[in-house]
Amino acid sequence: MIDVTTPPTPQRNRPLLGAKRVYKANTKHIPVLATLVLLVVMYSVGVYNYDGFGDTQVVLNVFVDNAFLLVVAVGMTYVILTGGIDLSVGAVIALTTTVAATLLEAGWPAGVVLPLALLIGTVLGLGMGCVIHFFKVEPFIATLAGMFLARGLSLLINRNSIPITNDFWTQMAQKRFRFDDGVFISLNVVIAVIVVVLAALVLAWTRFGRNIYAIGGNADSALLMGLPVGRTRIAVYTFSGFCASLGGVLYSFYTSSGYSLHGQGLELDAIAAVVIGGVLLTGGSGYVLGTVLGVLVLGLIQTIITFQGDLNSWWTRIVVGILLFAFIVLQRLVTRKAK
């Protein structure tokens, strides 16, 4: 046998490892940092080029106008972190607004409608989660069916857009938190920020949050490690459904209407925001903060386009594409360099 009585231990505590540690800890944050830096660069370019771009309100407007997207994207972040995807969010927004508007129009009190509206997406999410987990249906397809279902239902309820005149809703819609003359945020922003903070905390500080990462890293291993994979997965889709519904409620505050065509293509915006924010579509890596940055990037691109103001429809698309391209490639190169 090998002489194991003289185990050569000293070389294990290598100084090299210490150096490596600091370095490794950073690599996980690089995508988010890169996004942040590029975002600032993009903003500066905007301020430099356009009058009035530097107004505080321009930045706040990005939040005001994207609060619902932010909420939806947070839910999507959870789903994508487990390696899944949720295509139903846009349609859930439509369904939520339609149901809310219809019930309000029928004279139901806001106190009843609000929880009901929030329940819609939650229940749908729960259903999709169960189908995905118990019957091993691919998330893409399960949620695509959910998308058809939700949009189909809202179309069935009413194909017209329904105005919301309920007092509570109007108040919520017009609630403004003013900081200065002409500098304000809406209630939606406050709600979105709360959701973001809570979601980030849950992800970083709770078992549930860590299980999400584990499943995204390797679902089979997570199962063998004795983690509640099924429960977590179902919870994640339920949460995303809830976020979509909450997004729908914010959307109905934002537009004071319910409509079966609301939120079309929003799922793609949400996915894009999440991915731009550095979350890996294969799961297991990324942060809610990244998602916030991703939403800001999309919002800022749109703001730049509006400030530019002389682009016709197709140039709008092309320029959005080019900005997206420039951003993503730079982000990629920065990240790669840093690694």
């Binding site: 249906v137 069916a145 698309r317």
Partner: protein, 343 residues
């Protein structure tokens, strides 16, 4: 019998049969095929003809998905290819000359190849996540198509061009023949060469594939080029069908339908094993579903619900766990034992 039930394509085929059968009950003359002006005419022929663009796009999508990627830009590529073709044909001195139309078609497809290379470059060389890499072209590409057509619908009057989407050869729709040829080409390419194996390997495990000496980068680029080329041809069929290029509507949401077709056909979105027959079947199911909704007279408001329900049923039927849970564990267990004994 159990073997048949176990076949990967059993459930998609079953759903297709049910869809067709429902037409037998709820709509008139669905299965009549007549000869009209020297070509076949009937709802079944419509299904073949209308499936063509989706089949083409789904073929490309299958290859892309098999490497673990996804291509959202196919719809925009369709729009661009149709737009460019119509623009060029509009400039032809003689739009009825077959050679010039062929040249135009070549040019349009060549442009699509470039777009495919672009996607492949972003994914394979820069290492950008496929969904976001192709999102760029999805957004910008439609803009490019609108730029080409100046936002208008471009009409063309060209007999040879019309043949692609609306013509017949030996009484059979040309678009169907094109799709069939594409299927044959893809099958040959993936199953007669080693491409299929290498694709599945790259999709199954990129790291292991690299260490096995597979040039994953090259293969990945190639796959996006294929997807774009097929999308380009689909775009030509789409625009030729109505002899005009509508850069806004062409290929709208086709990426979703194509992905749906691929997954219904039994290919996993995570990459690896793929089934071309399955994707084709998936595409035909989706087209049949659309046509059935119209011919059975499903109201507009419920069409989406109808689609959702069919998709859900098909997914559940395909899920072995669901079958086991619903039809009882007993049946599957017995079958397994029997099989084991046989082996």
């Amino acid at each position: 019998m159990t073997n048949l039930l176990r076949h990967r394509l059993f459930w998609p085929i079953a759903v297709l049969v049910v869809l067709l059968a429902s037409n037998l009950v709820f709509s008139n003359n669905f299965f009549t095929i007549t000869l009209q002006d020297g070509h076949l005419y009937g709802s079944l022929i419509d299904i073949l003809r209308r499936s063509a663009p989706l089949v083409l796009v789904a073929l490309g999508m299958t290859l892309v998905i098999s490497t673990g990627g996804i291509d959202l830009s196919v719809g925009s590529v369709m729009a661009i290819s149709g737009a460019l073709a119509c623009l060029l044909i509009g400039d032809l001195s003689n739009p009825d000359s077959t050679t010039s139309v062929l040249l135009v078609v070549g040019a349009a497809i060549a442009l699509c190849l470039v777009f495919g290379l672009w996607n492949g470059f972003l994914v394979a060389v820069l290492g950008i996540q496929p969904i976001i890499a192709t999102l760029i072209l999805m957004v910008a590409g439609r803009g490019v198509a609108q730029l080409i057509t100046d936002g208008q619908i471009l009409n063309v009057h060209s007999a040879p061009y019309r043949v692609i989407g609306a013509g017949y050869f030996l009484a059979v729709p040309v678009s169907f023949l094109i799709a069939a040829a594409a299927v044959a080409l893809t099958v040959a390419l993936t199953r007669r060469t080693a491409l299929g194996l290498l694709l599945e390997s790259v999709g199954g495990s990129p790291t292991a594939s690299r260490l096995a000496g597979i040039r994953a980068r090259r293969i990945t680029i190639m796959v996006y080029v294929f997807a774009a080329a097929f999308a380009g041809v689909a775009g030509l069929i789409y625009s030729s069908d109505v002899s005009s290029a509508d850069s806004n509507a062409a290929g709208n949401l086709i990426e979703l339908n194509a992905i749906l077709a691929v997954v219904l056909g039994g290919t996993a979105l995570t990459g690896g094993r793929f089934s071309i027959a399955g994707s084709v079947l998936g595409a035909v199911i989706i087209t049949t579903l659309d046509i059935t909704a119209v011919s059975v007279g499903v109201p507009v408001e419920t069409t989406l619900l109808f689609k959702a329900i069919v998709v859900i049923i098909l997914c559940l039927a395909q899920s072995p766990t669901f079958r086991a849970k619903v039809f009882g564990r007993f049946a599957t267990k017995k079958a397994a034992t029997r099989e084991a004994v046989a082996a």
